[in-house]
Symmetry: D2
Subunit: 337 residues, 4 copies
């Protein structure tokens, strides 16, 4: 049993992680932590997340000494704000913990990226370089030997899983940038009081047009520029990405199908992608599951892909768990289905 | 044209009032105000409430001198917090304005009521005594000559409109307290950021059990104790009250029907109640309207009443407008249908 | 007062029309009709649409003799199925009625269009040719003298109002087809029982990919090919279209702004478009209103437009009413704001 | 491994059962069935319930010969319509299968009950008499030796679990009937196309006032008359029951607490009830779980209880699974948490 600590356990992602670790046959849920001055400190996690009552009732401990936590831990999950992850990760890493960071703090290399998109200067270029991007279906081998895994963002997961097979097979006309329109449930904004997330204010709308930090994350890891427009939807969980792209002249439906099959062969243990063929992905089928559903249709030289995930699961916690499983030699979907 | 000012115009009720006053053929929307230190000060109201864009674009002025506003106004609508209404109303009243207060500050007389239920001591017992409770269908004549109208709360409106005809006709067995279960949309909590109102946290649940301030408001104005249990529902607008009560032995369906008809005779101009008979009230029929729908069924000595309103309209702003219309001799539903 | 008949009045659009005609100072709601064998025949419309109770309680008459209705009517609104409109419209037209058809039966000319997209062969090429496309902001003069107005579809209204100013000003690089992603509320599918519209089955998903009949409607009336992907959203009313397009090299933000202002000058009586500038359109601001909100942002040579309407109002009934107003010389937004 | 068949597997409850049986370490999902003439026959269950794709993809077989199914089965779950369960159960029972019926066909004894409330005459009085009511927390021993278990209805489960401890401890003043107001998600009406369940028609409303068949089910098994008013809510899953009752004179909070604790001692394996004390139950905490959350508050002689379940789980499928576990000696919450 590997001792597993969750830092930032009061949020929606933290609650999902706590349940998964609890259910995992080879992990021991060693501790849940919140920042030392959090109002939620010392409350049982089930007081914040009532669905956990009777299942996981551990207290949310104030994180006073990350060093002590590091000593007692094999695995550390960081479900913390970007700057917090940035500051904490090295403390755990130098003490030998495996670190799975769900924030954006170690996802993208590049001199100006963090200053421009996250508003802070990155202090740990060496760790940033060593970090493995945890897109489970595509970085399996690197994850298997990583000490620091940067779990991808929710939109980037849905977007890349759909586009990568086509790019890898060189089926896309890369001159015309793919257009990614995606709608996320409100939980994507985290567990907090704000006018934007207030029940009466939420209604479908685009935000972060041309400026969302997930655009460069997607473009960097795809190696392809994209136009990415996120939207807030009036539902709690889930992301649906609808992607319009141009195919290389002469590409056939069969070639697309073959590229998808090659990427996500029907081997249940290897991944969490379900191919829908001509059917369109829908939120309801993926919410509450670890899966990414992908459908596509072609007309002339255009392809429209639909890709759906649960933003808190495949877009965050269950992908982190896939990475833990890969890293430690467990079947990839352990504790997930 | 009567100059009409709305104080506390940034909230959901304020926005509804602004639109109604704008549409009213005999009222002039003279000014919109927020507290002097509000972050929304000087913004056009349509920046906060996008549906008003192009319809009402007046700025939300900081309320620096209520005295000046009073001089320039015939009618003042207070859509302010209870304590704010308590403090402001006399300033407008002594300068001769008609004041329609949508808060709870002048609704209930009694030595300990405000200390116990609102957490402040009432400083204006004379005005409190002069205030007329603005339940439009029941206090018509008093409203017609009032200077200060305390517009009823949302739950009390839905509850009393259903129960009053039966109590007035002495059809209820008053030994057994009526049980009022009511569910309100989230807008009832006002326009503000809070965890409770956060989109992902809202789900059907009771609150304020045995302790909600609307219980004594209902009991006082009915002259009958009741058990009142409010609930938060996962919708933006509307209140549905389901009321279970005991009838006096021998009361017939015909007597109940007659009491309802007597109270709300089919005279469209006189009131905003629609009788549904055996049909149950449903939210969808009243949301966006000024109406209270009431249905009822009887079995043996029990009666179950359902009563539905839009909490922001009949439960607040449209009832205030009914009171303005009554007070100034306009047809009662002017600007409302 | 013009006698106005609504055919197909049992649906959501019919109910909206009934209320508007009722409120209109120059129209008389002469009759509501459903098909002769409808189960709703002879019910008051307010039995189906509870919000109308006490406002419009006219019965839904079985349409036995359209000829008789035509004799008694000045204006006929067809809120009927496509084939029904196709069959009925000429009966009213030859008897001199003004006909405003909300179906797709007279929207697009072309030999194979109706066979391919609507599954029937058009029998009235002359009327089809005479029909004026009722995009109120763009076809004002033709509507003003039309006898038959084909009120545009909901998606086409949202899409064209955003794109037309750019195309007319030749700011778009038309080589790269604009990508229109739009999400509609469930009411777009009409008032009927179906698994697809069942409460528990609805969740965000694309449909009609590369095959929706609104694609050729948009392309025809824009004179520009587009990629159009409609989605079903988990809400009752509203459409949000997010449109990604490429600008001609060198086009500036100022030019786009100027094109928008030129198209929709700030003259409240002339149209129902509200320009948001850099702000993104959101559903909540338009639902329940007659307005189309349009926002846009530019980066390099890409523009992203967001366009929001109430699908039942600007996407159907209120646009029909704009056309009636234009046709009969009333201020364009009469009965609408 | 016990061979387990699910009859009526196309519905929401059937899908939940399929997943549970699939996850159960001692059950083998032997077959899924729909009626022989169902349009869904031979489709994989995951075509109807997309969340099951890759998890349970078995076909929905047409049930041509229940006799053959009985031969090959140890356990049969009937997620069928009441009449269908009534007809099928004996076929499986006489062949020695354990039958867990989720319909109402075997829940209540009494000469006129089925004629009055279900519209058919019961043909199997002997089996009706032998049937054990599967309220897992209260009928443990009888369930452990039953061949036919009638799994309780959703409303009766939420209602009885809250009231039974008080009645058993004789703390309630039984002269005054408890008032049960309950709101159910739309999935309670099953997976089918209907106007009532249509997305645009759903809004909070009471139904079945004084006439719902769950009223006598509750009253019979409680041994106490109750007033029960069900409501349809605008959400997919969950039931919240708010119950108002009168206590015997002098009953203390401590006595109520003791009665609850005695009924649901903190022994995780024995039951699926979570006691919340003074806190009110909320839907969000139970949806997706097998738990019933119960809270209560007392004032003078009144008690208000709130009780929340997932209608498809504790109100149907997970309670059936509790019964299977009890009957076969497995830990009671196997496959449930």
């Amino acid at each position: 049993m590997l001792n597993t600590h969750i830092i930032g356990a009061s949020g929606y992602t933290g609650a999902e992680l706590a349940k998964m670790v609890h259910l995992h046959p080879h992990l021991k849920l060693a501790g849940l932590y919140v920042s030392a001055n959090s109002l939620d400190a010392n409350k049982p996690i089930s007081e914040l997340h009532g669905q956990l009552k009777g299942v996981v009732d551990l207290p949310l401990q104030p994180l006073c000494s990350p060093q002590d936590v590091a000593q007692a831990g094999d695995i550390v999950l960081l479900a913390t704000a970007h700057e917090v992850s940035h500051d904490l990760a090295p403390i755990f890493l130098v003490r030998g913990c495996q670190v799975f960071d769900l924030s954006g703090a170690f996802r993208v290399q590049g001199d100006t990226f963090y200053t421009q998109y996250y508003g802070f200067e990155h202090q740990f270029p060496t760790w940033l370089e060593k970090a493995v991007y945890g897109l489970a279906e595509w970085n399996h081998d690197a994850i298997a030997s990583a000490q620091l895994v940067a779990v991808p963002g929710c939109y980037p997961t849905a977007s890349q899983l759909a586009l990568k097979p086509l790019l890898e097979s060189e089926l896309l006309d890369t001159q015309q940038w793919p257009v990614i329109n995606a709608v996320s449930g409100v939980s994507g904004a985290g567990r907090k009081a704000s006018m934007t997330n207030s029940f009466c204010e939420v209604s479908l709308q685009a935000y972060g047009i041309f400026s969302h930090r997930h655009q460069p994350e997607i473009a960097t890891h795809l190696g392809q520029q994209v136009i990415f427009t996120p939207h807030l939807g009036n539902f709690k969980r889930g992301i649906l990405a609808t992607i319009t792209a141009k195919l290389v002249d002469g590409v056939t439906t069969e070639q697309v199908e073959a590229a998808m099959q090659a990427a996500y062969a029907a081997d249940g243990d290897k991944h969490a992608v379900r191919l829908l063929g001509q059917q369109a992905a829908k939120l309801q089928s993926v919410v509450g599951t670890c899966f990414c559903d992908i459908g596509w249709q072609i007309q002339d030289r255009h392809i429209i892909l639909t890709s759906a995930i649960d933003n808190l699961l495949k877009g965050a916690s269950s992908q982190a768990m896939q990475c833990i499983n890969i890293r430690n030699g467990f079947p990839q979907l352990t504790a997930l289905v």
